[in-house]
Amino acid sequence: MNQPRYATINLKGKRVLVTGGTGSIGGHLVERLVMECQAEVRVLIRNFARASRVARFPIQMVPGDIVDPSAVHQAMEGCDIVFHLAYGSSKETTQGTKNVLKAALEHKLERVVHVSTISVYGQTADGDLDESALRKYSGESYADSKLKAEKLAFHYFRKYGVPVSIIQPTIVYGPFIGSWTVRIINQLKNERVILPEEAKEGLCNAVYVDDVVEAMLLVATRDKAVGEAFLISAEEPVTWWEFYAAYEQILGTKSVIFASQSDLADLNRQYKREHGTIHQVLTTFRRIDVLLWITQLPAVARFIRLTEGIIPRSWWQHLKNTIILHGSTRQSGPLVSEEKPLRLLTDAQNREFKARTRVRIDKAKRLLGYQPRFDLEEGMRLTEIWAKYANLV
């Protein structure tokens, strides 16, 4: 079966720098830039161990870290367009973005595509969301650093006229995508995943990775994109239930458990009781493998030999029974676990799964001619083929 097609965007003769090109979205972007747009692509590479995917293409690989201003400046030499996807710790994200914007100003680039996120809007209200919504800090470090980075990008546009275009993707999924594909598949495989009852109606603004890459290419080439930010999602959101169910179908398992808010609160209380710090330490010591390892440490072994002579044998037996045997049969450590562990929700996740925010992509459609080609069914069809190939299923 053939994939949905986009109109060809020609970047022949353009020299393009990609930061974050070794990442999961970056890999898809590099592929299209090289193979379809025929651009001359340069990728800034911090860690060559992650370069296997992009090394498949005829690109220029430049060693360097995004937080190093001179490395970024050098990498951008002679470039026309930069796609800035790299992020890291809070400091790396903002420092890296500043370096990219500064180098773009110095080298007079014709376009800076800054990849932001829907998270810059913080916790979103139910109903329609578009780019006119207020950006706000949420206290979550990734989201807050991305908001700071976005503000920097706008600042360089307004103050220095750097031709910045920003995209704000929503929930990106698809082949190679860590957060919303690999992570979810692994969770559903290895854990019992709890969702709030409300997730049956809560909206997931999922977007297939190829549509996001298409949006990046559009903002890089449309004049109207300069100085603008665009929310990028699929045509319509799906429910979180549908999103998780699509992965369950790929895996052929049912791992999601829906729970009411009062059940969730009970579970959280129970979890805290069972997984407090002291409990955690005790549990670790009760695991047979850990205990055996400890008893083999020379100093400990000497101590045990010493005390064995002093403490009556029957006491020792009792101690072993209570700590090792009793402990190991009661606790659900990896050695004795029969049931998949339960994954509880954080408050932020609980809110996200409940929210009924509907992301509008009208601005991207109007100014860029953006038209998402993938609905959940088509996106998951390709995701499934990949996941099987990648030995995840």
Partner: protein
């Protein structure tokens, strides 16, 4: 039985005597990347058969760092500096440099243990073999998996006919790349001369050709789009009519085992861990474990560290006794020949999610 043990003991003592009379071989290690750091240098340091005299790397800071850590007396920036300083050299350089530098050593009578792949092409392998033959230097290739007891056991088991006729094999080896690379040569086409096939494939194909003999035909697919491949798949038919499939990857976590089906059993060999399982046909039970070798009355397993020591000492023994090392150039050339043939007949791996279908 007792007499036998006694005999082997005295035999061991007598060999120990002879080996202690021979001065340790002066060794240089050329290329201070991850393979040297984690395999060759630690092995050379613990072995009493060699004296690690010098470390060579164009990145002299790197050489100095390792020399400090392992107390190696000298470092050099250029491999030519060690010509007079070392009797033997381990060449652990980017693939493109294996042949030219090995040949330079061999021509001067310096013995060479070269990392796998022996060289990127059979033409270069042949020049290396000829150079060794002409000067009388001993050339060995670092196909270290041949020193695994498990792999040796499997080879013996197949040859014995114990498992009946071998029918098929299925090898899947891949990890989302995490080898601690000290330089970027692995991903540069001109230095690496290939991707996962040239690298992981050198080990994997060597094992298969060793166990099952020469191949008759193959179909090769990879995902290279003008750089070097991250994934490749080979369908193989061997001359003894065994059929097999090989799947190698740098971007997928695969099962990392070879499953061999025979008339009488299914054997699964882990390629990284020391683990083998044998399940007789029709039985829902299997044995799982490691392979050990007898040392007189003792039975010993081999660790990864032991493999590099065994490889080094096998080569040194061949040098000192004039015999063949376990993996001479002629043996290692076989996998290079297949790798070369694969690249020459490559077809594009079908990746349905990828947008661009042509190179």
């Amino acid at each position: 039985m007792l007499a036998l043990v006694e005999n082997s003991k005295s035999l061991k003592e007598s060999t120990m005597m002879t080996s202690s009379e021979i001065a340790p071989l002066k060794l240089g290690i050329v290329g201070c990347g991850a393979a040297a750091e984690q395999g060759h240098i630690p092995a050379a340091v613990v072995s009493d058969k060699v004296e690690l005299a010098v470390l060579v790397d164009t990145n002299i800071a790197r050489a100095n760092k390792l020399a400090d850590r392992f107390s190696v007396p000298r470092v050099a920036e250029d491999y030519k500096e060690i010509f007079g300083q070392a009797d033997a050299a381990i060449v652990a350089l980017p693939h493109a440099l294996h042949a030219p530098i090995s040949i330079d050593f061999l021509n001067r009578g310096i013995h060479v243990l070269v990392e796998k792949p022996m060289a990127p092409s059979t033409a270069e392998c042949d020049r290396m073999i000829t150079a060794a033959r002409q000067s009388g230097a001993t050339l060995a290739v670092g196909l270290v998996r041949r020193f695994r007891y498990i792999d040796q056991f499997i080879k013996a088991l197949f040859d014995s006919g114990f498992l009946g006729k071998i029918e098929s094999f299925d090898l899947r080896e891949g990890n989302i790349y995490n080898w601690p690379i000290a330089s970027d040569f692995y991903f540069r086409k001109e230095m690496a001369c290939g991707g996962v096939l040239m690298d992981t494939g050198a080990h994997a194909l060597d094992t298969l050709l060793w166990w099952f003999g020469d191949y008759e035909s193959f179909d090769y697919f990879d995902d290279n789009m003008g750089g070097i491949e991250a994934d490749c798949q080979i369908h193989l038919k061997m001359k003894n009519s065994v059929r097999g499939f090989v799947d190698l990857s740098r971007i997928r976590n695969l099962r990392n085992t070879i499953i061999i089906k025979s008339e009488k059993a299914t054997v699964e060999v882990h390629v990284h861990r020391f683990q083998i399982s044998i399940q007789p046909k029709g039985l829902h039970k299997k044995i799982v474990g490691d392979v050990v070798e007898s040392y007189g009355a003792e039975w010993k397993a081999r660790s990864v560290k032991d493999l590099f020591t065994a490889q080094l000492e096998d080569w040194v023994e061949a040098i000192q006794n004039g015999g063949q090392p376990l993996v001479p150039g002629e043996e290692a050339r076989k996998s290079v020949e297949l790798i070369e043939a694969c690249y020459q007949n490559r077809k594009l791996l079908e990746l349905p999610w990828q947008r661009c279908k042509t190179v």
